[in-house]
Symmetry: C2
Subunit: 189 residues, 2 copies
DNA sequence: TTTAAATAGTGATATTTGTCACGGCATCAA
DNA sequence: TTGATGCCGTGACAAATATCACTATTTAAA
């Protein structure tokens, strides 16, 4: 990642335009962080003080059930926001794990700064509203894929939306994201 | 519904508090509408000019696939917001159907008034942000239920969250919401 | 009232998917 | 290099779910 500040600004300006001053003010609320492959950014039972904007790398958001079986709620790569939103917004303990699949560079935005940001910046409040709406629509699309499609179709949809995942993520993880066993996924093609 | 204005105001004030003037201003953007059981509020291919706040009754948001098979994206009853959000926010044609399961009374909020509302009211922008976040978290919970649970467990989760659905909705529709055939659902108990 | 449509249950069977077990590679660290 | 670990495929079988066909009952409309 050559220029994190420019990258974040460009990301925000896809939604709303900013003056240089506004951009600098906004970016001052973020903290640049690096994580190594395999590192846990969020762990179950801990506080979730930050939402992350991924600059480079790849992370997975995971739920572990009573049988210690892991289910991938989502992947997040460059240009994506991620955290345990339930825990972050309600300021409860994490029920999800956020783990790096690759070395990852991200901006962290603390809950306090998150609140400050949209108290102080009408534009950022608008920005987060749009992002949140987009997230909601995206989730609904994923729900529809469970309702309408079998494992093979869901796999094809995932790869056509996100071809790079095939190179970057083990197939067992793709299976976990799709809600299918790794053996079944392996036999689909 | 005895007093729609009071009902809507109380709903909003669960998130942010309002003065009488603010409440009146906000409510002036909404239009009261009645629909009959079986009536289509949104139809595929049409414009989606409004988001609806349900005061009484029950509606279902449906996707129809290539085989003319219907899949229920969500139900909305009293105190819920509903529309084809994808179409509404992006101002494209509807890909979903919104149909009344019961006679329904709802406030309609036009796209123009929606935009005006949160240009003019910081509080409503905050309100919609919170609602949108809650919707996103809710969708993620539903995705997790597909990842972690079989048909019987999903059915139990749905009923424990929403017991009244069992009385108000045919089981074939519950099956459609759960992503399971009506025959399988019928055999689960 | 009479009829048509919607809803619900169930048997028989096919299809999809999960589970367990095993082996082959590749990767990575001691 | 060697051994451990993760990743991937696959056979054999079990479990979950879908599909088709039929019936009974309820609901709603003519």
């Amino acid at each position: 990642m050559n220029n994190p500040e420019q990258f974040l600004r460009a990301h925000i300006e896809k939604v709303i335009s900013l003056t240089d001053e506004e951009a600098a003010f906004i970016i001052s609320h973020f903290q640049l962080k690096t994580f190594r492959k395999g590192q846990f950014i969020i762990e179950v039972g801990n506080d979730v003080n930050e939402v992350y904007f991924v600059l480079s790398g790849l992370v997975k958001l995971v739920y572990e059930d009573q049988d210690a079986k892991q289910h991938i709620v989502s992947f997040a790569m460059e240009d994506w926001w991620e955290t345990d939103f339930q825990a972050f917004y309600t300021q409860n303990k994490a029920q999800l794990t956020l783990e790096c699949i690759e070395d990852t560079l991200a901006y962290g935005l603390s809950f306090d700064n998150f609140e400050k940001l949209f108290s102080d910046s009408r534009k950022m409040e608008r920005f987060f509203l749009r992002k949140s709406i987009a997230g909601h629509i995206g989730s609904q699309t994923r729900i529809l894929s469970f309702l309408t499609s079998n494992a093979r179709e869901r796999y094809e949809q995932l790869l056509s939306k996100n071809p790079s995942l095939l190179q970057r993520v083990p197939k067992s993880s793709l299976a976990s994201y799709l809600g299918v066993s790794r053996e079944t996924l392996s036999r689909l093609f």
